[in-house]
């Protein structure tokens, strides 16, 4: 039996609006994944350390405050420094189209904007991690 996919759901920055992060964490768990939720106000360093310790394949960052351009590149940089560039980073939240494109060019696997379905997030993670382990 294959091991379940392991996902770290993280809430960086000062914002406390965690409805989305919690709903996503539950949905991924219901889809059979192992989910670690960091709780609020995690720095990029704390997030990457948690990802390392928990040996996750995916990091999901929930950001609604508009601080994504400051936070996400820092997480990607730390992952590269720690030789963890194979960990997929996905971002969910209020991210304008042009910022979403820029984040993807920097290495984010996907950006899910408001209204994205839970099913789309689950399918993307399965496909993305599946490709990685067979490729």
């Amino acid at each position: 039996m294959p091991h379940p996919i392991r996902v770290l759901v993280a809430k960086p920055g000062l914002d406390g609006h965690d409805r989305g992060a919690k709903v996503i964490a539950r949905a991924l768990r219901d889809a059979g994944m192992e989910v670690i939720y960091t709780g609020l106000r995690q720095s990029p360093e704390m997030i990457v350390n948690a990802a390392l310790q928990e040996d996750v394949q995916v990091i999901g960052l929930s950001i609604l405050s508009g601080a994504h351009n400051a936070i996400v590149p820092r997480v990607l940089e730390l992952l590269r420094e720690k030789d963890m560039a194979d960990v997929r980073v996905i971002v969910g939240g209020i991210v304008p189209d042009q910022d979403a494109e820029a984040l993807k060019r920097q290495g984010v696997a996907a950006v899910f904007q408001p209204g994205a379905s839970l099913d789309a997030v689950v399918s993307f993670i399965r496909q993305s991690v599946g490709e990685q382990s067979t490729g």
Binding site: H17, D18, V23, A27, Y37, G66, A67, N69, I94, P96
Partner: protein, 530 residues
């Protein structure tokens, strides 16, 4: 699905019968439950003539980037006929950090105005007479500090505090429950709130020191009943603490104000506001022995539901907002914020916020719903829904009483877990298509681009430069002295407000003041409940 098989429910899952007639309210004591407007328990509104006498206050929540830019927006909104101000602060301010703190990186001015010192507050209200314009401030954990800044600006303008009218949100319990912008642990936070209520009762008789808020509870995904019950039970917790402090109920209860969400289920929302007034009036009279009618009258601000706004087909949001606003008006709101169509993307741009204000003006001046109080009163459906909502909320309130009150319930994670379960249930209904969101899971079409407000990093640089200049200019010995005095007050039991005012007058920054309090009170980390 055949109609016979389909379950009809409110958005919160309350079942709805095929038809409501006289039997729905048979056996109800109408004189007790449904007296005329202005009479206890105020089911039909707190005033006899409602909007015939005075319209609600049109108060758009607003703030972005620097205090200079937000000040310009305020002057614009007032020129457009807005009748009150409502300040949105950025995340560093909400969390008690200065704009130059490392944790403020990337967040300065993004979600509201950046206010780090009295100087910023002076700029925010430049040219705005605080004796005439009422101001609401959405600030919670460091509310006492921002209020002290506001009081000092009023003093500088020569406005007597006795005349000052406005509202401080200052509702820390709902932060632990829902919005999660807390700094200190619950008990010292409650002490600060009680300090402001006590100070207000003595020095600012026309200012609401707290706005007990269900809005954020609903936005976090609660049902309407949970929003109602948790909010009112929070209110009772503040009352308990103020009584414990030695205040008399009728000396502070008239200035407790409320803030509710206006969500999409039209009748459920109206029932919620009516039930809120009934429960509060009875709690004030019977649980707390209030004598003044002003203590028993629940006054509330409403804001349309931000969480109902969609990214897809954003112009649909104008229609959603108009319907939600109408529910708030039919429910008897005293003041109202209507969301802008672009708020699923960003803070509102000027065109969008103007349209949102016009929506209220159309409701007030063209729709005719203001001509008679509680025009839906007597509707079989609405009356039954009001009674059911009241009963369901009372069940929750009694459960929390049995847990030892709201602080204990929060510490046990009870409301947090209830809300998380409700929000997941709601999302699964959207996901399965059981619940329709127009433009999202039905009637989809291609995107319509809209113009958005952009806030770049120049605001953060400007704020940091101002702070550096301030720290170099002020009397740093005096700052130290006032901060030390504040810390000693916080360690003891005296009211912290006079010490906060001294620190603010010395131009101690928000971050410095909160650091002094952090050193005494400690900080709070929640156990995450998923």
């Amino acid at each position: 699905m055949k109609a016979a098989e389909r379950q009809f429910t409110t958005i919160s899952g309350v079942p709805i019968e095929p038809l409501y007639g006289p039997e729905a309210i048979a056996g109800i004591d109408l004189a007790r439950e449904l007296p005329p407007p202005g009479e206890f328990p105020y089911t039909r509104g707190i005033h006899r003539d409602m909007y015939r006498g005075k319209l609600w206050t049109m108060r758009q929540f607003s703030g972005f980037a620097t205090p200079e830019e937000t000040n310009r927006r305020y002057l614009y909104l007032l020129a457009q006929g807005q009748t009150g101000l409502s300040v949105a602060f950025d995340l560093p301010t909400l969390m008690g950090y200065d704009a130059d703190h490392p944790l403020s990186e990337g967040e300065v001015g993004k979600c509201g105005a950046a206010i780090s010192s009295l100087e910023d507050m002076e700029i925010l209200f430049r040219g705005i007479p605080l004796g005439d314009v009422t101001v609401s401030m959405t600030i919670n954990s460091p509310a006492a500090v921002l209020w002290a800044m506001y009081l000092v600006v009023a003093e500088q303008q020569g406005v007597d505090w006795q005349r000052l009218s406005g509202t401080l949100q200052n509702d820390i319990l709902k932060e632990y429950i829902a919005q999660k912008e807390y700094i200190f642990p619950p008990r010292p936070s409650m002490r600060l709130v009680t300090d402001t209520i006590e100070f207000g009762a003595r020095h600012t008789p026309r200012f609401n020191p707290i706005s007990i808020s269900g809005y954020h509870i609903r936005e976090a995904g609660s049902t309407a009943v949970q929003e109602l019950a948790f909010t009112l039970r929070d209110g009772m917790e503040y009352v308990d603490w103020a009584l414990e402090r030695g205040l008399a109920i009728d000396d502070f209860a008239p200035r407790l104000s409320f803030f509710f969400n206006a969500h999409s289920d039209f009748f459920e929302e109206i029932a919620k506001y009516r039930a809120a007034r009934k429960i509060w009036a009875r709690a004030m009279r019977d649980r707390y022995g209030a004598h003044s009618e002003r203590s028993m009258k629940l006054r509330f601000h409403a804001q349309t539901a931000g969480c109902s706004l969609t990214w897809q087909q954003p112009y649909n949001n104008v229609v959603r907002t108009a319907l939600q606003a109408m529910a708030a008006v039919l429910g008897g709101a005293q003041s109202l914020h209507t969301n802008s169509l672009d708020e699923a993307y960003a803070l509102p741009g000027e065109h969008a916020v103007t349209l949102a204000l016009r929506t209220q003006q159309v409701l007030a001046c063209e729709s005719g719903v203001t001509h008679t109080p509680d025009p839906l009163g007597g509707s079989y459906f609405l009356e039954k829904l009001t009674l059911d909502t009241e009963a369901a909320a009372n069940d929750y309130i009694h459960r929390i009483d049995r847990m030892g009150g709201m602080v204990a319930a929060v510490e046990a994670g009870f409301p947090q877990t209830e809300i998380a379960a409700a929000s997941y249930r709601y999302q699964c209904e959207v996901e399965s298509g059981e619940r329709t969101i127009v433009g999202v899971n039905r009637f989809q079409s291609d995107g319509q681009p809209i113009e958005l407000l952009q806030i770049d990093e120049t605001s953060a640089r400007h704020q940091r430069q101002k702070l550096a200049a301030l720290r170099a200019r002020r009397d740093n010995g005096q700052v130290r002295k006032t901060l030390d005095a504040l810390a000693r007050a916080a360690e003891g039991t005296e009211n912290t407000m006079p010490r906060l005012l001294d620190a603010v007058r010395a131009y101690a920054t928000l971050g410095e003041i909160c650091d002094s309090l952090r050193a005494v009170f400690g900080t709070y980390q929640e156990t995450a409940h998923v």
